[in-house]
């Protein structure tokens, strides 16, 4: 299994770089992950609203929320999400939050 090192600690990731084990993640890793995947840093309070939501939804439901669900579950609009996590907010926010790739819809 591939590994990566963030904040001095080695973590297990899948081929695309998503965390395999969200409990290996720490807050200190988030800015480093963000830099690696082109997410604007420093991470703002608004970005943290999303990161915290990604993790709580993951631990609650077993998968990270989609873009539409993020905007329904928080006051962060889809537009703002694309500013905070440009290109693919659901994937990038999951990456920074250290959770596995959200299960898309079929």
């Amino acid at each position: 299994m591939p590994t990566k090192t963030f904040a001095g600690t080695s973590v297990d990731v899948n081929d695309e770089g998503f965390f395999e084990d969200p409990t290996q993640w720490t807050k200190e890793m988030a800015p480093e992950i963000a830099d690696e995947y082109g997410v604007p840093t420093p991470l703002t309070d608004r970005a943290w609203v999303v990161i915290d939501l990604m993790r709580s939804e993951y631990f609650d439901k077993g998968t990270g929320p989609t873009v539409r669900k993020i905007s329904k579950l928080s006051d962060v609009t889809t537009k703002e999400l694309f500013v905070l996590f440009p290109k693919g907010p659901a994937k990038l926010a999951a990456m920074v939050a250290g959770i596995p790739k959200p299960k898309g819809c079929i």
Binding site: T66, R68, K69, K72, L73, T78, L81, F82, G104, I106
Partner: protein, 416 residues
């Protein structure tokens, strides 16, 4: 004291109708009273909507009366649903009636929400911006395509989940055929714009479908997240600032659950779909609520075939529940879709929660070819309408085709 139980079914579309008919056959009326509610009396054969824009089906050929599809002894109510009180086991209708239940079946499908995308229903709606996902849109688009001879047709899926995720691709293939037949294909550009990272959600099928798009000269734009549809300036504007010009935009609007779900505390999730056990089809909301079809939040396609395969498992499990027995049957996520590829051909894909669509034949080695264009598959798709009205809705079984996905006759799964 009577031991008659009360079942209320919300929605008399594909899932509600087939479940009502199957349960009516299983239970005598003095054991189970069945009430079913729908907001209108027009049962649309939705797969037929794909053909309407191209003049290959007329609206009156694909619509029948809802109550006529229901067996005797099923009480039909025509009203919009206002709300469900899951604590009190009671449904309130917009006409003021209330229906109390012992068991509830939610079968209200998915709702189109074009108004959720900025600009979509503004200027240009039904003039340059259309959807074929409902009868009104499909009919308006037919008139538009009829007079259209040159320009840029853009097909855009706004976001998942949508009903029948292959239908927009089929639309692109049929558009290629339609304009070729009309002799104007060289003057029409067709572009398929999707938020996904490929043509389709499943990698193996996605590869096959992408190469079909290429063969037919249809351009593919991936990972495009539409933020705004400007029907006047005729462009799609992405959240990342990218723009795509069009003459006709054929959009698949956002989908959510039925409107009354928002009015019913504890029933649905943020999008209005009902949290449902993948295997048993019992809701995760309350044990006496079951869910069938597009209304469920299952990780399966929102498709009539899925609804059909769910039907058998659902009815067995509801029977167990009503008899106070353990719930044992489980659904495997089986989906089976004919994909029209134009020029009287179609391909067929078959998959479930665990298994990707693969090549081979369905339902066994001498069956229909999978993941490969053929005329037989096209005929299969055409014949399906008759089966829908006369087999699927009345709840008749088809010999040799059970709910579980068959593996016999299939090529070994390609890892993906």
């Amino acid at each position: 004291m009577s031991d008659q139980k009360r079942l209320v079914i919300l929605g008399a579309g594909t899932g509600g109708t087939l479940a009502a008919n199957r349960l009516r056959k299983k239970f005598k009326e003095d054991r189970l009273r069945i009430d079913i509610v729908d907001q209108n009396n027009q049962h649309v054969y939705q797969p037929g909507l794909l053909f309407v824009p191209f003049g290959l089906a007329e609206s009156d050929e694909i619509v029948r009366k809802r109550d006529r599809q229901l067996h005797k002894g099923i009480h039909y109510h025509q009203s919009a649903i206002d709300s469900v009180d899951i604590e009190a086991d009671s449904v309130t209708l917009e006409n003021g009636d209330t229906l109390d239940y012992d068991v509830l079946l939610v079968a209200t499908g998915a709702r189109l929400q074009p108004e959720e995308t900025e600009g979509m229903t503004g200027p240009g709606w039904m003039e340059s911006v259309f959807t074929f996902y409902d009868m009104e849109g499909a009919t308006a688009l037919a008139a538009k395509l009829d007079e259209f001879e040159s320009g840029h047709v853009v097909i855009n899926v706004i976001d998942m989940p949508i009903k029948c995720p292959v239908a927009p691709l089929e639309f692109a293939f049929l558009a290629d055929w339609y304009f070729t037949d009309k002799g104007v294909r060289d003057d029409v550009t067709i572009t398929y714009v999707t938020p996904l990272d490929g043509a389709f959600t499943k990698p193996t099928a996605s590869a096959t479908l992408s190469s079909l798009l290429t063969d037919k000269g249809i351009e593919l734009v991936t990972e495009f997240n539409t933020g705004e549809v400007d029907g006047e300036a005729r462009k799609l504007i992405g959240f990342d600032g990218r723009e795509i010009d069009f003459d006709i935009a054929v959009v698949i609007p956002l989908h959510g659950g039925a409107a009354y779900v928002e009015n019913s505390p504890g029933l649905g999730d943020e999008l209005g779909f009902i949290p449902t056990d993948n295997a048993t089809l019992q809701s995760q909301v309350k044990p006496n609520i079951f869910v069938v079809g597009d209304a469920a939040d299952l990780p399966a396609s929102k498709a009539g075939s899925v609804t059909h395969f769910e039907g058998e498992v659902l009815v067995e499990n509801m029977e167990s529940f009503l008899k106070g027995e353990p719930i044992e049957h489980s659904f495997d996520g089986h989906a089976n879709c004919f994909i029209e590829t134009g020029f009287s051909k179609a391909l067929l894909i078959d998959f479930n929660y665990e298994n990707e669509p693969v090549g081979g034949h369905y339902p066994g080695p001498v069956g229909l070819p999978l993941l490969k264009e053929s005329r037989v598959n096209h005929l299969g798709k055409l014949m399906f309408q008759s089966f829908y009205w006369h087999g699927l809705l009345p709840g008749r079984d088809i010999p040799g085709i059970g709910p579980d996905m068959p593996t016999f006759g299939k090529k070994h799964p390609v890892s993906g």
